[in-house]
Symmetry: C4
Subunit: 308 residues, 4 copies
């Protein structure tokens, strides 16, 4: 069986995983409109390829928060990888290290942070923190991070608000990156509060249904940020064309959620590597065919904004 | 059998009710384009959720015509409840009272007004008056309302017109609320004639097909009224997201038609309560996830008006 | 078997007629995109009904070219009625006379003009002239019209052009009405050449595919004509709502093509009368529910031109 | 079996060809969105036919690069015709010569250029050059063209860029035409570099998926070129209406890809002639019914740019 694109891995995982595990991974909020729109919205965007540029050398490397990655394709935080593959997040971490990309470890990882760090000591890691009502727990999580250089946070304590950011900022010198922003208003507040980055995300359509597809919200957030911090996105990335579209609309890199779990379900570490490599190859081809020699050359001009 | 959302109640009612009763409830005018569009139009609207607001306390309470209701989710007038459940409108009235919301009793109620009032004496009630050619009948209906504090009217006498409003206004000091307005022109006339409110409605798509979905007509009416009276809406509300969208577009509260009958068909009073509670819970979740601490914070900014 | 709307007659005719006859009637050019769009385009238009107007009396009467008709619903020219009912156009003519509407007799009628006139001497008739290469034939056809008071023409001689109109105008004092105009440019030429009316039509989608639906072309033609002549339309009218939409967009009356043949196939004269009466009843209801007391009150304001 | 339109030839070829050959012809990049959009985009464009123009004589002739062709319908470069019919490109060349249209021979022709020239010595031919890394090979290919009067090129050496054009221009006095341009930026560069024409093309959707349909990209390129060179297009042309739409939007002629192979698969030379003749007949009818007496009369006014 040869899996040649990410949706092949999806079909394989659907067959292989137990129904409860598959349902947990695949599920979305309510009618799954946003989950499905994450993918469909990419397909509606048309590319404007450029012609007769010397693309004999194409360089996919870029940086996030100053660290180099081999391509702008990283791993979003998802929980409970041991449901899908025996050594769970340890496999994921090794694959990310091998591929030279960043892996955001979830608060809900099913392996210990220590094991994850030990198995892939050279990998670039960020940590997703859900803000808990018990702030001591948060403090402990943050102060273990001498093991992870950056962290990214999503509220789970419903009382958390912009004013609480200063407490987190006092706990750590790590850059703080907010995940889940979809509006220009919040993007402007993020700039004002001196956070270091934004991940435009609707959490894979698993939280609130009927919000915009991540790629549709990206341009608004990018415009509001005015280059004052890096903007990333997750949600619906399935092909190399999708990666290029996200970068053309202003993302510094994209993060993969479900496709990583499909790869993990296929062959653990090697399955995740396969998913990352397929996507990197597709992205390389797309850069070549649109005339982009480096990620710096990927601009808004590659997107068609109107039709006949 | 566990019914967890309003469409579960619909599926249940479709199985349980006799075909003539189901057809009577479900029917729409002509090709049912407007009936179906009432629901579909809500689904096309995208929300813009706000982030990092303290939503540890969310308050759904609001008022209509000065009276407090527990949430902006009330019961629209529909007729002949005894077709669906033995004690018909009496069950509906008790459920509305228990849920702390308003119940608009139909001219075509299958229980007497006296029985409805007796069974739920503390409930907030409005009365729907169809204007009859025999004005004495109207007068009798109005003057029984020492039992219902407000009434709302729909024309059935084809000769009734704006000039006749003064006759009704002379009969009663009750506020008069017009149901069925879909245009800015009529909204402006309603302001001019000193009525107390408007229910934007196409009567569940049962009257004239190919008119706009209620939620699509709402913004035009709200803009024309300029805050001079309260505007409500019915038609197509099925989820908590729908309620929030209607309020974001200017409705003071929404009214439920068919879903109440589905609840009634399931378990009478307790089925209607279940429908109301599910919708209230969903609305609470939606307020939390969009960052709204009170209904006063639900504004147009929560709606996405354009896309990429 | 009870036929209650025009599509019921369509379904009946599909079953009853021989396949070649049905195919001849139902056929359209190429992929039938325009034929189908004629119907679908009406369904996309939303009505803006007005409220609280005295509609106890609704008057559907109007005039075309100065002659009164009972409703703005007449019969378009179609050929070979004898394929569908033994005495063909004679039945159609009697039905039109009984209903008080105009019947445009086709050049390709399968009954003689004399028989048509004899069987329904009091009916309002127009005559469709295909301009033939042999102008003497045209002359004969025109000069038989002492039997039909008006005529309408469509080119079949491919060399016919605007300059030839003067020859036709010299042959007859009858008003000349052009059928098949779809653009503002031609509407302006029609005004300049002193014709008496325009029928906006794509010939039921039978001639050139991929032209606009008739109802979509109507507004452009009406705007260009600036009230200097009457504008009619045919194509896709199936319900009373459709009639009202066409009038709201500026048509003086609509003409029916295929539905008349469906009626004829059902019960000859009585079938055509049934089709006309159903449509008149639906139009009456639509006028009532949108608040129009006369056709003069049907204006563009009844059409919704934008949505949320 | 009577094949009356191009999609009949498609259906026939699908049945007759071996699956690998059919798949090779029919294939597109990735999800084939652009391949399918090439056809679908034509269908969304509506025509504005003109009325009462003398179309007794319709002249389809035009010129490309100064050479007369019988109609603006020529043959795009596709490879390996021998897969479909024994004597491959020789049949294609004879059909093109018989029909009086231009045939662009592919670099990947399965017959020798010499055989193609010998079998159809009087035909108008262009040559498609893939730029190879070995420039000597290119030079040899170009200098054989004393047998083909023009050539057209597509990059296959990924390092080729605008600056390399001067080398090709130094090798030949033949006009150079660029195939595959989809943007105004590249159209402007083509003008600046003094090439002689552009073929707007996405290579049948076989190269990069999710780029615009060729007909959707045409208007942008035409506007940028400002009449300084001829613009052609290929991709999705299946009917005479499509040809007229492309010309109305500014193409000097269209080129056919897959339909030629379908014709070849049917009956070799005679099948290709049949395809060309059907399309020419349809185009003649479309010119007649839209009121165009010559290709010079086909203008943007024939296209509807907005609807109700």
């Amino acid at each position: 069986m040869s899996l040649v694109c990410l949706t092949d891995f999806e079909a394989h995982a659907r067959k292989q995983l137990s129904k409860p595990t598959w349902d947990f991974i695949e599920g979305g909020a309510d009618d799954c409109l946003t989950r499905d729109d994450n993918v469909a919205a990419f397909k509606k965007i048309r590319l404007r390829p450029r012609y007769l540029k010397d693309v004999s050398k194409v360089d996919m490397r870029t940086t996030i928060q100053g660290d180099e990655i081999s391509a702008p394709i990283c791993i979003a935080p998802t929980g409970f990888h041991c449901l899908v593959w025996p050594d769970g997040e340890m496999s994921t971490a090794r694959a990310a290290q091998a591929a030279g990309v960043c892996y955001i470890t979830s608060t809900y990882a099913s392996c210990s942070l220590k094991d994850i760090v030990t198995t892939a000591p050279g990998g670039l890691r960020w940590f997703q923190l859900y803000a808990h009502v018990d702030r001591q727990l948060d403090k402990q999580l943050i102060q273990k991070e001498n093991t992870v250089p950056y962290f990214q946070m999503s509220p789970i304590d419903p009382s958390i608000c912009w004013d609480d950011l200063s407490w987190f900022q006092s706990m750590t010198r790590l850059p703080i990156i907010l995940k889940g922003i979809l509006t220009k208003e919040d993007a402007e507040l993020a700039v004002k509060h001196n956070v270091h980055g934004i991940i435009v995300s609707n959490h894979g359509g698993r939280q609130l249904d009927e919000v915009p597809a991540a790629i549709d919200a990206l341009a608004e957030v990018v415009a509001a940020v005015k280059g004052k911090m890096e903007v990333y996105m997750d949600g619906g990335v399935r092909t190399g064309n999708d990666v290029l579209k996200a970068l053309a609309l202003g993302a510094k890199c994209v993060f993969l959620g479900r496709p990583v779990l499909w790869g993990l379900a296929y062959k653990g570490e090697h399955g995740v590597e396969a998913v990352l490599n397929i996507l990197k190859n597709e992205f390389h081809t797309c850069m070549t065919l649109t005339g982009c020699r480096s990620v710096a050359e990927i601009s808004r001009d590659l997107i068609q904004f109107s039709r006949l």
